[in-house]
């Protein structure tokens, strides 16, 4: 409660405003960047498991391709994470 009262009472300086905006947008940046890759990786791994269950003898090849696909999809989320760090700490 004390912290909230202090927040309401204080008149934020421009530097504080900038910090607050940076922290908030850092959160949004990572949150939004995680949506697409989340769906993509779920779809990708699901389909790979399906393929491996149908043809267990091709499992090795499917697994390699799956990791490649995950690597490419995941890169988008990780770029979001780097943006988060840059906004928050740089």
């Amino acid at each position: 409660m004390e912290a909230i009262a202090r927040l309401i009472a204080a008149d934020p300086t421009p530097a504080e405003l900038k910090n607050n905006a940076a922290a908030a947008s850092a959160g949004y940046a990572y949150g939004l960047a995680a949506i697409g890759p989340g769906i993509g990786i779920g779809y990708l791994v699901g389909k790979s498991v399906e393929a491996m269950a149908r043809q267990p003898e091709a499992a090795g090849m499917v697994r390699t391709t799956m990791f490649l696909g995950i690597a490419f999809t995941e890169a988008l989320a990780l770029i979001g994470f780097v943006v988060f760090i840059l906004l928050k700490f740089a």
């Binding site: 390699t64 490649l68 995950i70 995941e74 890169a75 990780l78 994470f81 780097v82």
Partner: protein, 252 residues
Amino acid sequence: MIALKFPEMYEILVWKDLFPTFNKISLIAVMAVVISTVIFLLAARQDHNEAPRGVRNLAESIVEFIENGVIMQTMGRDGLGWTPFLLSMFLFIYLCNVPGIIPFLQMPATARMAVPLFLALLVWVIYNATGIKHQGFGGYFKSTLFPPGVPKALYILVTPIEFISAIIVRPFSLAVRLFANMMAGHILLVTFAVLSEALFQAKDKVLIPVGILPMFMLIFLTGFEVLVAFLQAYIFVILTAVYIGGAAHPEH
């Protein structure tokens, strides 16, 4: 209330110099090189007619993993000449990742941008040089920028995309993937360690048992980081193999 104080970014990632120009990151990188060299030197001293045991067993299984798990899956038999390069790359990255979970080291060397960036630029130079060597300068750029089987009019669209993806995005995403994965894992571990420490030292006695929850999460995440350290090294090497294979034999 608990006194939760997250350490500054500078404190998590930047280490004091052990002696001038040599800090913990450099120590881990040097150790990675020394350990991987020593493993193979010791393995080479054993008689190769006997059944492998000890260190030689380890070394042979690593080589076999690179040959069967990486090269045969992506480049085929022609690529087996790349084994030494990919092997040393894999071992270096893996041994740089693993200190993130070793007590008292607790820092993956690849969580500083310089290490992955240098490795990615090295890979970039090597796959471009391989393409130029195998297909000639004109041939390499023709097969990269003007992929066959595309209608002529679409080249206006395809060529810039191919240029950006093959020349700029590939090394960037290689470097950022490795860096961000290790960095994210490191920050995650720090977060849960700080949280459980703050709860264990809370003034309110009710909160002390709650500290077990982040503690369990910390243990679980440490186990997860073991997997991530291996997986990132594997993905880096397999992407390198795909890029080199693609530059050497464009029709695939």
